[in-house]
């Protein structure tokens, strides 16, 4: 914690989007979500339920999609963490990001970063998901605006584009 309680000169390091970040004088109770957003300047990951129910805070840890609100930041020191900001290295939107915009999968956009990360993780492990596999894979990401129809379409577009690219 910054100036008041539990202060120490201790630090730990997190590997986020391929970069080592020092986390200095942090309260040990801080979630990975809080540290990403408030200490590392990576506000792309969103918080909406703090209970791992909505998926807005989805990040990839060692290849696995997880809810950053459920991870104690200080326990993630050995993990390789990828956030929505790290999906593209050149600043250009990824195929999944592009398909979400083109297919109308974005309205208010608050659930979007978590969904983008979850869909990237899905397509990494299964390049040709079926309709039901798509639905199951993103069933941990709540969207309140779209009713999911355009999100399914975005995932189909990204899947099909990748498959065409692979042929």
């Amino acid at each position: 914690m910054t100036s008041s309680q539990d202060q120490g000169n201790e630090f730990y390091a997190l590997t986020v989007n391929g970069m080592r970040h020092q986390v200095q004088d942090a309260w040990v109770g801080e979630s990975l979500l809080y540290v990403l957003r408030e200490r590392l300047g990576l506000p792309g990951t969103k918080g909406a339920c703090e209970q791992g129910e909505c998926g807005s805070c989805t990040v990839v840890m060692d290849g696995e999609a997880v809810c950053a609100c459920l991870v104690m930041a200080a326990t993630a020191v050995d993990a390789d963490i990828v956030t929505v900001e790290g999906l593209s290295t050149d600043g250009e939107p990824t195929d999944v990001q592009r398909s979400f915009v083109d297919a109308g999968g974005v309205q208010c956009g608050f659930c979007t970063p978590g969904l983008i990360v979850a869909v990237h993780a899905l397509l990494e492990r299964n390049s040709s998901p079926s309709e039901l596999e798509i639905r199951e894979a993103i069933s941990g990401n709540i969207c309140r605006c779209t009713g999911y129809g355009r999100i399914f379409e975005a995932v189909r577009q990204a899947r099909d584009t990748r498959q065409q690219g692979a042929q």
């Binding site: 008041s4 979007t112 941990g140 969207c143």
Partner: protein, 767 residues
């Protein structure tokens, strides 16, 4: 436009014409899309300032109690705590409210709902702030809560607020009050308390002016100017000392129309002289905003033997909770929509919005009409059975038309394609039967593997609705927009809250269409320009769309005048074709960029809708501006032994006037259907003695990707002459009649007489 959940080409218009320009009628892509998918879009919860402190709110644990004392000394003593404020620190008006100023900024002597703010703190870290809240000592004398709406009406409970226990009573009385139909059906219907559950939690950043004489607030809201007015009154500051800019809004659905943390955040900033960030967690969000009114509605329908609807009787009771919010307007919507989208000459409606010690209720998508529709559509099905008719036929027989009189005496002068909505919905294909060996994810209950194929029964149900557009009862909810054209680039300014619906792309489409430009820049959405009214009541396409259209048209006139003068032409000969200014009677043609080179055309326009009237004591009067209609057909699979429901498909035909952006329109329809599905089968804030039992996303269930039905959509395009762009609002209708349609489908599958939403497993198994 016909169907689809099928792929939509992103830039083809409704006729399939491909355009490279994002003009009206094509699926132009939203300008905030790429920032949002990249995580670069700044939501209000992402706002940050040097030297900022975190604000947090202490809330009452009791639904009704006297406050004997508040001791903040231990909280103030905590290292890192900069301020603790209570009602004693409010310099101006002690209350706020959208229609009636009856809700305290902080409770002073009495708390009236569990979750009511009592104090707020500012500290250097959210955890410090949380500990400070823990350290505040409030001594309460617990009182008996008023949680029974009927007790509020009967006057059998002591008054819990100086304004009384009934917020409003309104009757709608029309025609022969002694009429008894050949066929009479009745029922009592209950609607549970639904939450807006927008994903982006309440958040704001307040920046005090250098002299602490004013404040700037970045906040997620639906109506900047209304917030500004209420905040300034509480802060005792002139309006120009309270400047609001819209922080990125993560959904709203009515839940951001009322003040939540705005005043607290500004008070802390002025008290500490430092930037204050406040953001609610999910649990606090359930306490911090209003909800959809739970309702109990008795209805009796009278008809001829051939199914002709003759009279509706209704008694409507809405529980408004502790403070008035928009309860009186929600009540008006409910009582004036009780006939549904059907012609009916005789009405006897009595409605109450009452005060209680339950959480306050106000605006949510559908605004009183959701409750009315569940009752009248359940009744139409009962009437169909009593008359030996099909649910579709009885609705077609009674379908309202333009020119019919409403039960308020108002003439329906909107385009009213009710019959067409029903017929086009019926024409959409039904889904295939559940396979004999389905994937578990297709079964009710899903991956829990709780349903057995052999227990699953299919049902089909219908719902049709009417919804007013814009504000009612004499309120002039105008919208303002400014358009600046220079060097072929348009800059638009408006205070219209973009909450996710996509007004930002619609505004660009309007400017491209009217002015023949491609580049349309948007100024920050703020109180630096006049009000746009609220992003609610399905009104911004019509109202702010009308304002942007008006501002662009005035600029176009100025441009034409300039070009005409320079070339010695009558300006009336000039038109925009593509991106060119063209002489329609000659050969002159050059680009808008050239025509506006080194010039500035800058115009501001206000759009007002036609005036409306208040209702008289019998509920008679031209109180609404315009109406839209929609039909829904739902198909469900139900495990009748376990009470599990899977909504398989929803087909809908919606009266939209004109589709301005097919992709955005489809998104509104699909999203609204999901929210209506939530109310039908899963979403409810459970209250016990005034206390919320499920204020979390673990316990308040929302539709997930596995709950989403296949959606088939037919857009009914009959341009509305009253509407500036021919387009009706499309936001609310999708969520209204889908709820009764789903419940009717469950009744069809189970044979149960279900009369409340959400339908719970026990209602199906034991009902």
């Amino acid at each position: 436009m016909t169907p689809s959940s099928s792929p939509t080409s992103t830039r083809s218009d409704v006729n399939g014409v491909v355009s490279s320009r994002g003009v009206l009628g094509v699926s132009a892509l939203r300008p905030d899309g790429i920032p949002k998918v990249q995580g670069r879009f700044a939501f209000s919860s992402d706002a940050w300032a040097d030297n900022m402190l975190w604000g947090a709110t202490l809330r009452s644990p009791h639904p009704h109690a006297k406050i004997r004392s508040i001791d903040v000394s231990r909280a103030l003593a905590i290292n890192g705590v900069s301020a603790v404020i209570t009602a004693d620190d409010v310099p101006g008006q002690l209350t706020y409210g959208l229609i009636t100023s009856d809700q305290p900024v902080f409770a002073r002597d009495v708390v009236r709902y569990a979750g009511e703010p009592v104090a707020a703190v500012a500290a250097d870290h959210p955890e410090t702030a949380r500990r400070a809240l823990d350290a505040i000592r409030v001594e309460y004398e617990v009182l008996a809560p008023l949680v029974d709406a009927e007790a509020a009406i009967a006057g059998s409970h002591p008054t819990i607020h100086p304004d009384g226990n009934v917020i409003r009573r309104q009757r709608v009385v029309r025609g022969d009050q002694t009429f008894i139909g050949d066929v009479v059906v009745e029922g009592t219907y209950e609607i549970g308390m639904q939450d807006q559950a927008f994903l982006g939690l309440e958040a704001a950043l307040a920046l005090p002016d250098d002299d602490n004489g004013g404040v700037e607030l970045f906040v997620a809201t639906q109506w900047l100017h209304e917030d500004q007015k209420q905040i300034a009154a509480c802060l005792n500051l002139p309006l120009d000392k309270v400047r609001l800019t819209l922080g990125g809004v993560g959904g709203a659905f009515g839940g951001r129309e009322d003040i939540s943390l705005q005043v607290h955040c500004c008070l802390l900033a002025l008290k500490t002289g430092r930037p204050i960030k406040m953001q609610y967690g999910r649990e606090e969000s359930f306490f911090g905003h209003i909800h959809r009114h739970p309702a109990r509605i008795f209805m009796r329908h009278h008809a001829d033997r051939d199914g002709t609807l003759r009279r509706v009787e209704a008694r409507v009771v809405l529980d408004g909770g502790a403070y008035a919010s928009t309860s009186s307007a929600v009540l008006i919507n409910a009582v004036t929509h009780m006939q549904g989208p059907y012609k009916c000459d005789i009405a006897t409606v009595d409605g109450y919005a009452v005060r209680s010690n339950n959480p306050p209720c106000g605006a949510m998508r559908g605004f009183g009409v959701v409750q009315a529709c569940f009752a009248h559509e359940s009744q139409m099905d009962k009437l169909a059975v009593a008359c030996g008719m099909d649910p579709v036929d009885i609705r077609l027989k009674n379908a309202m038309r333009t020119g019919d009189k409403l039960i308020t005496g108002q003439t329906m002068d909107s385009v009213a394609p009710v019959e067409r909505c029903i017929r086009e919905t019926a024409a959409l294909p039904l889904p295939p039967l559940l396979p004999e060996e389905p994937d578990v994810l297709q079964l009710p209950g899903g991956s829990g593997l709780t349903a057995r194929r052999s227990n699953v029964k299919r049902g089909v149900g219908w719902g049709v609705s009417i919804k007013n557009l814009m504000y009612s009862e004499g309120f002039d909810d105008y919208a303002t927009a400014r358009c600046r054209l220079s060097n072929g680039i348009v800059t638009l300014q408006f205070a219209t809250a973009e909450v996710g619906q996509g007004f930002v792309v619609l505004a660009q489409q309007i400017a491209r269409s009217v002015l023949g430009v491609d580049t349309v820049l948007l100024e920050p959405i703020s109180t630096a320009i006049g009000s746009a009214g609220s992003t609610s009541a399905s009104r911004q396409t019509w109202m702010s769309g009308g304002a942007v259209d008006g501002a662009c048209r005035v600029v176009r006139e100025r441009l034409f005048e300039h070009v005409a003068q320079r070339h010695g032409l009558d300006p009336l000969r000039l038109v925009i074709e593509g991106t060119d200014v063209v002489d329609s009677m000659g050969s002159l043609r050059f680009s808008v960029a050239e025509a506006s080179r080194d010039l500035v055309f800058d115009e501001t326009f206000e759009h007002h809708h036609r005036a409306t009237e208040e209702l008289d004591e019998n509920g008679q009067g031209n109180c609404h501006v315009a109406f839209a209609f929609v039909a829904h057909r739902a198909v469900v699979d139900v495990d009748v032994d376990l009470g599990l429901v899977k909504v398989v498909q929803v087909a809908t035909a919606q009266d939209v006037g004109r589709v301005l952006n097919p992709l955005a329109a489809l998104g509104q329809v699909e999203g609204g259907i999901a929210q209506g599905l939530g109310l039908a089968v899963m979403e409810e804030i459970v209250l016990v003695d005034g206390k919320m039992r499920n204020p979390s996303f673990t316990d308040y269930l929302l539709p997930t990707a596995l709950d989403a039905p296949d959606v088939l959509v037919s857009m009914i395009e009959e341009p509305e002459p009253q509407a500036p762009l021919g387009a009706k609002g499309i936001g609310e209708p999708p969520c209204i009649s889908v709820t009764p349609a789903i419940v009717a489908a469950i009744r069809d599958a189970t044979g149960k007489d279900l009369s409340r939403v959400p339908v719970r497993p026990q209602d199906i198994v034991f009902g």
